[in-house]
Amino acid sequence: MKPFTFATGMYASGDWESGQMVAAIVIDSLARFTTLDLAPAGVNVALESSELLEFPFVYLTGHLPVRFTAGERRNLSRFVERGGFVFMDDHNHDVDGIFHKTATEELTHLFGPLRPVPNDHALYRAFFTFEDGPPATSHELNGWGDNLVHEHLLGIMRDGRIDVLYSNKDYSSEWSMHPDSKRFLEKDPSRFGVNIVVYALTR
């Protein structure tokens, strides 16, 4: 059986590679807390490539404007239609930022408008329980970016199931550390990453 592989999506515009530590830290948390059959390292896969369909979980991030190519749009649409899960995180943590504006435009163009994910959604109980919805990041609490603590994540949902999860919380910065560094923290900051992956694997 093929193990779960954390895939980071490569797109032609912007800086898709800005969250290169995220795969390692999420894989580390999955290995610590679950018995999932895991690939030890993540992969980078082009959104335009048919190889994308071999990895039903894909993570997208960046700071810069996002403009998908026609091939990327076509492939991403097919990916979601067949049951793939997209997790897209704004590395700017800024609702007025260029990544947020362009990325949400692209997603809306492909899948329809993004809607708030209710804070009692099954996503927040998929493994760990997050009573108040999405965990806040230190960037939000320190007032960086747009100086807002975002109450909800956004999503493209079909029959209550999240197909595309979009975050303004900048988990990409929050999880940008070597896995060994987590031992100095009171709580593993990437626990919510476990929830996202487990949700994608079970719903």
Binding site: K2, L36, R82, G83, L201
Partner: protein, 420 residues
């Protein structure tokens, strides 16, 4: 000598015809009819003129009422013979499909090479040329009744039962295979409950825990040898009539070893480039071949090794799936791979599932699932010859011709030898 023989034979024929006319006096005429004229003929034969004998040529459907009427005529002493004409044997049966999307599977028995046409009350639906095993139709609409026509005769069948479908229980580990098997079956309309291992002390549970028996579950799918909870109740569920689908990795579970299912050591890796188009969409999937054991039927093979196998165990049905990572078919397959993957898993479940049956009210339209067989049953086997033959032996015209020939022969013989 020749004149004497011709003369004697002519006298014999005259005597035979005279006796025949005397014996036949007082009896009715010999009647023949086609099935289309039968509704008009039957009342006449019963109320106006009682025929001496009846010959029926099958050139269309014989209604159950007409067949009963003909059988009654036979019991009153009127010989009824029939010939099949262009009619060939045909029979049909309609079964509800074990599928939440509904539908009817129509199996038709017909002579190989004959065109078989499926129709319902609104008209023709499909037609095929019957193979050696007849023909099978799948009707998604679930009509109240269907007819299967092969030549002049049509078999008419109705679905006798409604099905009660239980839940599916999925046991395994959290992963893409369990996710996409569950998605395929839920999209098809099955209610799926799941127990999926996720951590040493945690599991993903979908649906309430309930007793594993045929009153609640139509089938159990086991994807792994060590799912959360116990597999000990699965063999008893299977033997009591339940349906079980095992991935080859599940056959290693100690609780399931008694079922006799096993995998071979050698694994055939997935073929790259991954391609699910063409007549064998599963040819690119990785495969763990299934060990052949007595009583087991290999439903699919690759390179001579069993890829999908089935067997009956007491009242239950067991299916073993050797294919690995079937989710890749749905995600990365070409064309309508997602629908094909969904339909394949639904077919697997439908093949083993335990279903409750509730009899339906009989259709207002009379059914006759085997019209040719019913004709044989009520009227005896068909005659190989046409109407009028067999009872009188020869027609009167033929008799007259022979008689005239014999007289001419006697006269010519006398002329040739110069006698008066």
């Amino acid at each position: 000598m020749l004149e004497g023989a011709a003369h004697g034979l002519a006298l014999g024929i005259l005597a035979w015809l005279l006796l025949g006319s005397l014996r036949g006096s007082g009896a009715g005429p010999a009647e023949s009819a086609g099935t289309r004229s039968l509704p008009a003929s039957l009342p006449r034969w019963s109320t106006v003129v009682r025929p001496d004998r009846v010959h029926l040529t099958i050139d269309g459907d014989v209604s159950p009422t007409a067949l009963d009427w003909l059988a009654a005529l036979v019991r009153t002493g009127v010989p009824v013979r029939w010939d099949a004409g262009r009619a060939t044997p045909v029979a049909a049966v309609a079964d509800p499909m074990t599928d939440p999307e509904g539908g009817t599977r129509v199996r038709a028995a017909a002579v190989a090479g004959v065109t078989v046409t499926l129709a319902d009350g609104l008209g023709s639906l499909d037609s095929v040329t019957a193979a050696r095993g007849g023909a099978t139709f799948l009707a998604r609409s679930g009509p109240a009744w269907i007819s299967v026509r092969a030549g002049p005769l049509a078999a008419r069948a109705a679905v006798a039962d409604s099905l009660v479908l239980g839940r599916i229980l999925l046991l395994g580990q959290v992963g893409w295979e369990s996710k996409f098997v569950m998605a395929a079956l839920e999209e098809r309309g099955w209610r799926v409950e799941a127990r999926l291992g996720l951590s040493p002390r945690g599991a993903v549970l979908q649906g309430a825990a309930r007793l594993l028996d045929t009153s609640g579950y139509a089938a159990v799918i086991v994807l792994d040898s060590a799912p959360p909870g116990s597999l000990a109740t699965v063999p008893a569920y299977l033997r009591s009539g339940g349906g079980v689908i095992l991935a080859t990795s599940a056959t290693r579970a100690p609780a399931l070893r008694g079922l006799g299912a096993a995998q071979l050591a050698a694994t055939l890796p997935a073929r790259e480039p991954f391609d699910t188009t063409g007549p064998d969409p599963r040819r690119s999937l990785g495969l763990v071949p299934i060990a052949e054991v007595p009583g087991q039927v290999a439903l699919e093979r690759r390179s001579g090794r069993a890829a999908l196998a089935a067997r009956r165990i007491d009242r239950g049905r067991l299916l073993i799936v050797g294919y690995q990572d079937t989710w890749r078919w749905r995600m990365a397959g070409g064309g309508d791979a997602a629908q094909a993957h969904r339909a394949w898993w639904a077919d697997l479940v439908g093949a083993v599932a335990y279903v409750g049956r509730i009899p339906r009210p009989l259709s207002a339209v009379g059914t006759d699932e085997a019209p040719f067989a019913h004709l044989v049953d009520r009227l005896g086997p068909p005659s190989a010859v046409g109407p009028g033959a067999g009872t009188a032996g020869m027609s009167d015209g033929a008799m007259f011709g022979i008689l005239a020939g014999l007289l001419v022969l006697g006269w010519a013989s006398r002329r040739f030898r110069g006698a008066a």
